[in-house]
Amino acid sequence: MRARLLIAFTLTLTVSFAWGKSAEEWINDEFTISTLSKKEQLEELEWFRRAAEPFKGMEIYVVSEPIDTHRYEANVLAKAFEDITGIKVSHEITSEDDVVRKLLSQIETSLNIYDAFISDSDLIGAHVRSGAIYPITDYIRGEGKEVTLPSLDLNDFIGLPFTTGPDGKVYQLPDQQFPSVYWYRHDWFTRPDFQERFRKLYGYELGVPLNWTAYEDIAEFFTVHVREIDGERVWGHMDYALNSPALGWRISDAWLSMAGMGDVGLPNGKPVDDWGIRVSGCRPVGASIERGGALDSPAAIYAIKKFVDWLRFAPPEARQLTDAAMGRWAASGKIAQQIFWYTAYIAQVTDPELPIVNEDGTPKWRIAPSPLGAYWDSGMKSGYQDAGSWTLTKNTPVDRRKAAWLYAQFTVSKTVSLKKTMVGLTPIRLSDINSTEMTERAPYLGGFVEFYRSRARNYWTPTGTNVPNYAKLSPLWWKHISLAVEGKQSVEQVMSNLAQSMDREMAVIAQEEPGPCSPKLNNKADKGFWISLPGAPKPKRNENPPGRTMSYEQAIKAWQ
């Protein structure tokens, strides 16, 4: 009986639209690797075809940020979905800040700008407070029950803790994930002549830096002492500091946590998180030390001073760049190490034609745990992980939301997920991470697979729920930090102003968006009071401990 049914819907799926391909053709030509069998893939696609029937002919609009994974969705998966379901998808790719502004506009104006967003889970704090987002947990039990894929398998998604609110509800469905890690030229680091020279200069081994002292020493070593390799100018550090929203994320994506500013706790420090915002219960109560926060604390100032100071070890162009250029710069063969490097660009550094890839396709580079700052304590998050996730707003018309939900599930379905993961290298499913295909690819990805197969994937985490309204607060970062980069204000002044601005904006949010978890600022108290208490804000420490390094093999054991 099952065989006959399979034949029946195989025949159905073979019939395609005039311009398109059948489901079977898509499986044979594109979705050639999957954790499902071909029969299961056909069954899954048949479910999509049937579930989409009421929406055939509809044109829906979705938006996401410009990374390889989303380009694959926009250029390949949207076509496959249309061929199979008859729903046309305009899958827009736009800069991350635009995604954030558009989501905020959709909520504030009630215009249905998009039928669904792929928006970072960093906004979870706003979603749990605003009531404007349809929690996925509620959706699949209610309105979306009929259009929820039976084989969706939510437990297979590794990023679900990041998109789950304190109320236990899943607010967003992860679509892609990538951490920011330490990237370095393993071939240079293991050269005996460099190792000996480094040891003579700094008194310890050249290796994966465990702390910021070692990172700084290695940056100086390559930029100042080595200077040239094979006649090419090389640099011991790379970063980006253009005055733009990307500069804000460079810092707000857990840089202060890496320095050690916040409290211990996963996925984010409690009560003080990596934005320096303290909560009491679920209420944000302040970002400045005077209100119990840590955004102007010694650890935060140290973090920004190092960020600005280290630009002297980077190519001069760094001040005019955003993160979008970091894959290209790493690929150029001029960079020895980068402390903050999004693996979203990993596909750009694996081309065998590049000078940083061996002839057999294995990389000359590696990724490893990011070195940590002088204020970091055991039990804190170790870095940032982006979790771009499908987000449904309540103001979208019901039918359009259902059609968009079908497309969302299609892009993460097991039929397509492994192929998408191999193209964009932003894994979301444990089944993909543990697949044979991923094992075979591991030697070519410089530690990336090891990261996702380890506990590390839980220690690199997105922005959390302390941030009450990400879209409103995030512009403060780049607007203030740029003044330090440009030397217009001292770092101390910048962080003091930033903390005050954050407090003021939270006070406005408290007025505009009242609720049981809206901000309620603490009264100002003497800074010494808060500093004297355990945890963040932390008192000043020795910011220049001895440099410490490890071999790559030892360093990635920390991930196990």
């Binding site: 926009a74 790719i93 800040d97 104006t109 215009l111």
Partner: protein
């Protein structure tokens, strides 16, 4: 053709139509305008009819600034010039440009004045269908100087040819000097109708928030006041009411007013 004159110059004062818009209703105001708004011709959002500025964006602007109790004057210029002039002159704002991450640090923003969708248009006789944005790679795409959508396409490596105004692209497309024309769907519909043409709408590739973009030296409090009023106008139905006098119920592209 006369060389366009620089905004603010004597020639510009003569050449451009300066339209001092003072409040005729509402609270009494100071005589000096607080803001100088530069707009550009893009029906049905912004245009001059009988020497009067009209259009959807103009109506929203009028209502917004009246509610915020801000005096202003308004002048029309080519889009790129309006954009550049505003960047370097305090108390100037440009209406209604596309807000984007790449432009974000250049202005102080009041948005969204409008939300517009941008699509590719082709001659009906052209072979092939644009189903994804990459299908337009290697094709000659027409846009205009100052267009956020044009900048977007250039940023992502598309072959974009820029004209001084959007309407010129339609002629280039018909003469096969372009493969595709990239335009917002509402003004494209009008231009296509005015020219008595039949073009094929291909993929919608970008939706933009159209904004009042103000010089960075503009008072932040003034900008906050405008943003707050705009938000209120969406909330209390004023925007919807303004839209209703423009809406073409047969044209689903207008659905964004809802």
């Amino acid at each position: 053709m006369n060389k366009p004159s620089r905004p603010g110059s004597k020639a510009a004062l003569i050449a451009s139509v300066m339209l001092l818009v003072m409040a005729s209703i509402g609270k009494p105001r100071a005589e000096q305008p607080l803001l100088h708004i530069l707009a550009y011709h893009q029906p049905p959002y912004m245009e001059q009819k009988n020497n009067k500025p009209v259009g959807l964006a103009i109506d929203i602007l009028n209502s917004l600034l009246m509610r915020a109790n801000i005096n202003y004057d308004l002048a029309f210029h080519p889009p790129k010039r309006a954009y550049q002039y505003t960047r370097f002159h305090i108390d100037h704002c440009v209406l209604a440009i596309e807000r984007s991450q790449e432009r974000e640090a250049q202005f102080l923003w009041v948005s969204p004045i409008l939300v517009t969708r941008h699509a590719f248009y082709s001659r009906p006789s052209r072979n092939g269908v644009i189903r994804s944005i990459d299908d337009a790679k290697n094709l000659r795409i027409g846009s205009y100087l100052g267009s956020g959508a044009g900048e977007y396409l250039e940023h992502y490596g598309f072959k974009v040819e820029l004209t001084t105004s959007n309407d010129l692209n339609i002629k280039k497309l018909i003469r096969k000097r372009l493969d595709l024309w990239a335009s917002d769907t509402i003004s494209a519909d009008i231009l296509i109708r005015e020219n008595g043409l039949s073009l094929r709408r291909e993929l919608v590739f970008l939706t933009t928030l159209r904004a009042l973009a103000c010089n960075k030296g503009t008072s932040p409090d003034l900008v906050k006041r405008m943003q707050s009023e705009l938000k209120e106008m969406y909330r209390n139905g004023v925007i919807s009411e303004i839209y209703s006098s423009y809406i073409d119920k047969k044209n689903e592209n207008w659905l964004l007013y809802k």
